[in-house]
């Protein structure tokens, strides 16, 4: 079955959505992601939607859900790379995704997760930037 891959980077999970998703694929991603968070104990999730050409109410709801569910599982979700046209359309549609964290790109999203969650994507000895570095 068709699936969107979830990559693990240290304490974080990274999902890059690159296809025009049909609804079932989006639901599968929601299931897969929550399963992976609880299995890996990840503290942060990055969802890169820079390649998405539209976000309709269904995908918007999925984003809100994943964000809320991950919070329950003690992980923070950051949506990165939303295109201007998509953002304008979402606002016009009436979806403002309150409570969902956003960042301009993966790097800034990662930085955000490090600040809030204190997780790490680098081995403890190579970088002293993070305050919590148990591995």
């Amino acid at each position: 079955m068709e699936r969107i891959p979830i990559l693990r980077m240290g304490d974080f999970l990274l999902v890059t959505i690159q296809v025009d998703m049909h609804d079932r694929l989006a639901m599968t991603l929601q299931d897969d992601l929550t399963t992976r968070i609880s299995k890996t104990g990840a503290t942060g999730v990055l969802i890169d939607i820079s390649a998405l050409e539209i976000v309709d109410s269904f995908i918007g709801r999925m984003i809100s859900n994943i964000s809320a569910m991950s919070r329950v599982l003690d992980a923070q979700t950051v949506i990165v790379g939303m295109q201007p046209a998509v953002a304008i359309t979402l606002v016009e549609l009436g979806l403002t995704l309150p409570g969902v964290k956003t960042a301009l790109d993966v790097e800034k999203g990662m930085q955000m997760l490090r600040v809030i969650g204190g997780g790490s994507v680098v081995p403890p000895e190579s970088d002293g930037d993070d305050d919590r570095q148990e591995y």
């Binding site: 949506i79 201007p84 953002a87 606002v91 956003t102 301009l104």
Partner: protein
């Protein structure tokens, strides 16, 4: 019936017999009509008139003079469209453009008069026929002219909208958009788009919309501003609104517009200070004040 086949044939014969004289008279007529000197070159004008005459004669000979939508008139109409739209593009006035067809009347009527010196009925028929055709051709010229101008106006409006919304970079990661003039829906959409586009291009996380130059803020404008701020947030950037004058603050409250958790500042300078702080930067004095 006035006109009809007899009028048509008389018209055709008169144009054919006097082609050279008609052309000279017509060109002279138009040169005189142009108020601006050198608005059009005589050689170019003469060429246009020649082409028109040739197509016009053909159309009268082959075509139906009561209905110009028939295929025989297509070439004439197309040629007039070209002349008209090129004059529209070059900024000719409506009367200067319409003159092309209407100034043909006098030379043509003179020629008809000469051809039917002794026959009042034939002259009346021919003149009526000619008037009917030339009036319709003149109206066609105006239709095309107006359409051309409309297209130009639409294009200029778009250009102006883009020109009026410069997004400037103040520091690393900080953009500012000074809005000057009235914000309407169309303009706000362009403002919104260019700001959000620049946020992506520059990777800026702080954007300041300065409305010092906006005379009034009504509910609609306030909503547009809010939408921009929300869209920026969805992309991962913070938006601040600065330059809120006391009257505008009053209006916003009176209108009951909820600005929510949007950061608003009185001046661009104070908004810039907030943005710098959020970026972990600050401005320090390098020399004591003089």
């Amino acid at each position: 019936m006035i006109g009809g086949e007899a009028g048509k044939m008389a018209l055709y014969q008169a144009v054919l017999d006097n082609e050279k004289a008609l052309l000279d008279e017509w060109v002279k007529e138009q040169i005189g009509a142009f108020s601006r000197q050198g608005a059009i070159r005589e050689t170019e004008l003469r060429q246009q008139c020649e082409t028109f005459l040739r197509l016009f004669v053909q159309a009268i000979r082959d075509g139906n003079t009561t209905d110009l939508r028939t295929p025989e008139w297509e070439a004439v109409l197309r040629f007039l469209s070209d002349v008209s739209s090129s004059r529209g593009e070059q900024g000719f006035s409506p009367s200067e453009t319409a003159t092309f067809v209407f100034s043909f009347k006098r030379p043509l009527f003179t020629a008809l008069g000469k051809a039917h010196q002794d026959d009042g009925k034939a002259l009346a028929d021919a003149v009526w026929e000619a008037t009917a055709i030339l009036d319709r051709l003149g109206l066609h010229t105006m239709d095309v002219y107006l359409k051309t101008r409309e297209t130009i106006i639409a294009r200029q409006q778009e250009d102006m909208l883009e020109l009026s919304t410069p997004v400037v970079s103040l520091a690393e990661g900080i953009l500012a958009l000074p809005v000057i003039g009235t914000l309407d829906s169309a303009r706000t959409q362009v403002v919104m788009e260019s700001l959000l586009q620049r946020i992506v291009e520059t990777g800026s996380t702080q954007a300041i919309i300065d409305i010092t130059g906006v005379p009034t803020v009504d509910t609609l404008v306030a909503q547009h501003l809010l939408k921009t701020v929300t869209a920026a947030r969805l992309m991962g950037a913070d938006c601040l609104i600065s330059g809120i004058r006391p009257q505008i603050a009053q209006t916003i409250v009176h209108l009951g517009v909820e600005l929510g958790n949007v950061t608003t500042k009185a001046t661009l300078a104070s908004a810039f200070a907030v943005a710098l702080d959020r970026q972990g930067m600050k401005i320090v004095r390098s020399k004591p004040q003089a």
